[in-house]
């Protein structure tokens, strides 16, 4: 039986190739094509004209586009780093400490990842509600009334409220990945460190982080792309991009242009830009984190 069942393999992969072509490759090339047309949501593929780079030219003069680009960049700079930071801490504490209720915490921390994102958005909207929200009430209890805000209604705070929800819902997910990898680190390493008198923090910085370097690199890229995608849902639910565009993100602006304003071609141009940016960023961050020795 040394002969490889080539035909069998070919037949088995056919459906997958077909599905990928129909649902991934073809739509992607179609989107690239549409980004050079003035297609509206209603005349897709029929009456749209080829207009060359006009959509891209408009994009680089469009202040709403720049605002959402800026917001997306802010989120990408802050959210992955904080998310992974919390995930690492949680994972380390849950694996290294001798807490009895470990399993309970693990469930609690992972829980947000299995809740629908829309619900996460609604829950956090009520946390930030100016009159009934728990956050303002807590501040009142602590006599910190001057720190109270109409969180989702002020342009200085709205985007960071979305960021908080993003971090909260993703931290547990990456925590589970880290727990798995930490469990893969040989116990002897930690025991040797104990013998040498290393404290918890030292073990974290000198053993856990260096040994998880590769995993951290991968999760960072995952978290970057997660931020681009998920911020759309959360910002849509929590603030609808408001106030005055202060929390709008790229994919949301794409949706607004494509669906509400019926500029499908333009929306595809924004999508192409986002895609290119995401690819470049993940390549970059992979190269940076990959340089192990």
């Amino acid at each position: 039986m040394a002969k490889k069942p080539k035909l069998f393999i070919a037949v088995c992969t056919l459906p997958v190739i077909f599905l990928t072509l129909v649902f991934m490759i073809f739509p992607m090339f179609n989107a690239i094509y549409l980004s050079f047309t003035d297609s509206t949501a209603l005349n897709v593929g029929t009456a749209s004209r080829f207009i060359g780079l006009d959509n891209y030219k408009y994009m680089f003069q469009d202040k709403s586009f720049f605002q959402s680009l800026q917001n997306t960049i802010k989120l990408m700079a802050v959210v992955p780093v904080l998310t992974l930071f919390f995930s690492l801490i949680f994972a380390f504490v849950l694996t290294q400490s001798k807490l009895r209720e470990k399993a309970f915490y693990r469930t609690i921390f992972f829980f947000p990842s299995i809740i629908s994102l829309t619900i996460v958005g609604i829950v956090w909207s009520s946390v930030f509600n100016p009159n009934k929200g728990i956050l303002n009430h807590l501040l009142e209890l602590l006599n910190l009334e001057n720190l109270q805000h109409a969180w989702l209604g002020e342009s200085k705070t709205a985007l960071w409220c979305v960021a908080a929800a993003l971090i909260w819902q993703a931290a547990g997910y990456y925590m589970v990945m880290y727990i798995a990898s930490i469990d893969g680190i040989s116990k002897e390493v930690y025991e040797a460190a104990d013998v040498d008198g290393a404290r918890g923090i030292q073990k974290f910085f000198f053993i856990t982080i260096p040994l998880l370097r590769n995993v951290i690199g991968i999760t960072y890229v995952l978290s970057l792309s997660g931020t681009i995608n998920l911020s759309f849902t959360l910002s849509n639910v929590m603030t609808a991009g408001g106030p005055n565009g202060a929390s709008s993100v790229l994919l949301q602006y794409m949706y607004t242009q494509g669906m509400r304003n019926a500029n499908f071609g333009y929306a595809m141009a924004i999508a192409m830009f986002t895609l290119a940016a995401a690819v470049v960023l993940s390549l970059l961050s992979r190269r940076l984190t990959d340089r192990t020795d």
Binding site: R260, N261, A262
Partner: protein, 474 residues
């Protein structure tokens, strides 16, 4: 080996069969998302054979289910079917009806009739207008009314059919959208409270802010609005501009004229709106609230006024309120005591897509909607008034007293109805006018933007629209 190959082949064909199944499935789906229309499948087969047989027809309608509920629509469809034997109406009614019918329109499977607003969040009607995707229905209004007692045009409330609400294209008086309901929008207040305290309805902005100081002593804020939906402030902005600058000012804005928004008159109005917040008359936390939250706060007496329309009474039927709360509506203040108080008229619309399969029956349906029985049914089931001249009187026996009184706002001296609609945008335009006009309000209210900057940003958007228009005309 042969056997395994055969199994794999079978599996592949099954997947393909599933896929082809998908593609034919959505065309049959056209109207099932709505209510319990069991006649659906029967209706579809009638479609193929219906040609030439006028008695056996079907009408596919798509209805936005908003604050008025679905009872009226279920009722009126039943009435229409009773009066037109052989006609089957397939109704899709949903709060997200635009998302349901958009792909159908794209696939060339448009409904025959739509009850959907041009101002709705989804933007479907605006897109159709930009794409010239609506059918002209002027002939419906130039024809007989349903009772055959006169021309339908004469039954409709004055001023609506000529306005850009119904005739959206410049240089084309053709009617593309039929007016549905009508109702004044203004400042909602608690009549009981005003009577008890002996407060007077402020006629001018000075009186408005003076009242603000009085109510502050009573522990209340003067004003709140629907926070994260600043678009509700159109009910203040447009009437205030009309009162200060006349209809010319409004018409100039509607056609995006240069300098129509950044001028002395408009700036004066924008400044008043900014003052409400910067001078401390706005309910704290307003910018972070949604419509139900701010409306509840107002009904609990935290704020004295809120912008809204007559639907608020039914929308908030379940909400807790101050004791003895009675809905009443005041017009927007003006600069001088003798200025005309304009009241923004809300007007939702019906339309027929250009790709409708049965436009004649759809037109008949529109005629029927304006009949007395339909108008009465609407008042009874939805507590609101059709945009016909006899609307308010026909509704009198069915709507609550306070709603009836709110509709009477026009009877007060020196008030006038204002219908406000922007001209249809040129195709390919990437601006959303209402976003550009109203979204900055939150920044202005938060003190992050001045009234002048607001006016400048709107002017910039208007300039972009004008240049898009030139490009489209080329």
């Amino acid at each position: 080996m042969k056997k395994r190959l055969f199994a794999a082949f079978l599996a592949t064909t099954m997947i393909f069969a599933g896929l082809t199944g998908c593609s034919s499935w959505d065309s049959k789906e056209s109207s099932s998302a709505g209510n319990s229309d069991a006649e659906n499948s029967a209706g579809n087969s009638a479609d193929q054979t219906g040609e030439g047989n006028a008695a056996e027809q079907e009408l596919n309608i798509a209805v936005f289910q908003g604050g008025f509920g679905d009872e009226y629509w279920n009722g009126v469809v039943e009435l229409f079917e009773q009066e037109h034997p052989g006609v089957t109406v397939n109704m899709t009614i949903s709060p997200t009806v635009a998302d349901i019918i958009r792909p159908q329109i794209v696939a060339g499977n448009a409904p025959d009739f739509m009850a959907l607003n041009d101002s709705s969040e989804d933007g479907l009607i605006l897109s159709l207008m930009k794409d010239k995707g609506l059918m002209e229905i002027t002939d419906v209004f130039d024809g007989q009314n349903y009772a055959e007692t006169g021309i339908l045009r004469e039954d409709i409330k004055d001023g609506l059919l000529e306005s850009s609400k119904c005739a959206p294209y410049t240089g084309d008086q053709g009617i593309y959208l039929a007016p549905f309901n009508t109702g004044p929008q203004g400042l909602i207040y608690n009549k009981t409270l005003f009577d008890e305290k002996g407060w007077k309805i402020p006629a001018t902005w000075d009186e408005f802010f003076a009242l603000g100081d009085t109510v502050k002593e009573d522990g209340r804020a003067l004003f709140t609005y629907q926070g994260i939906y600043p678009g509700y402030l159109e009910e203040v902005l447009w009437p205030a501009i009309a009162s200060a600058g006349g209809m010319e000012a409004i018409n100039a804005i509607c056609s995006y004229e240069e300098g129509s928004f950044n001028n002395e008159t408009v700036l004066k109005v924008l400044q008043k709106i900014a003052d409400i917040s910067t001078k401390g008359y706005l309910l704290k936390g307003t910018v972070g609230m949604n419509h139900t939250e701010s409306q509840s706060e107002m009904m609990l007496g935290k704020a004295v006024f809120i912008t809204n329309g007559t639907w608020m009474e039914s929308e908030m039927a379940e909400a807790p309120r101050e004791e003895g709360f009675e809905f009443a509506m005041a017009p927007i203040p003006t600069f001088h005591a003798d200025d005309v108080h304009y009241v923004l008229d809300s007007c939702e619309q019906f339309s027929i897509p250009a790709g409708a399969k049965n436009p004649d029956l759809a037109k008949e349906f529109i005629r029927f909607l304006y009949s007395d029985e339909s108008v009465k049914l609407f008042a009874e089931k939805a507590g609101a008034v059709y945009a016909v001249k006899a609307g308010r009187e026909l509704a009198k026996d069915y709507v609550s007293e306070s709603t009836y009184n709110m509709y009477g706002i026009y009877d007060e001296t020196s008030t006038a109805s204002l219908v406000m609609n922007f001209e249809s945008l040129p195709s390919g335009c990437k601006i959303n006018v209402s976003d550009e006009v109203f979204n900055p309000i939150t920044s202005v209210v938060n003190g992050e933007m001045t009234a002048e900057q607001w006016a400048e940003s709107v002017e910039a958007a208007f300039a972009q629209i004008r240049s898009d228009k030139e490009a489209a005309d080329e």
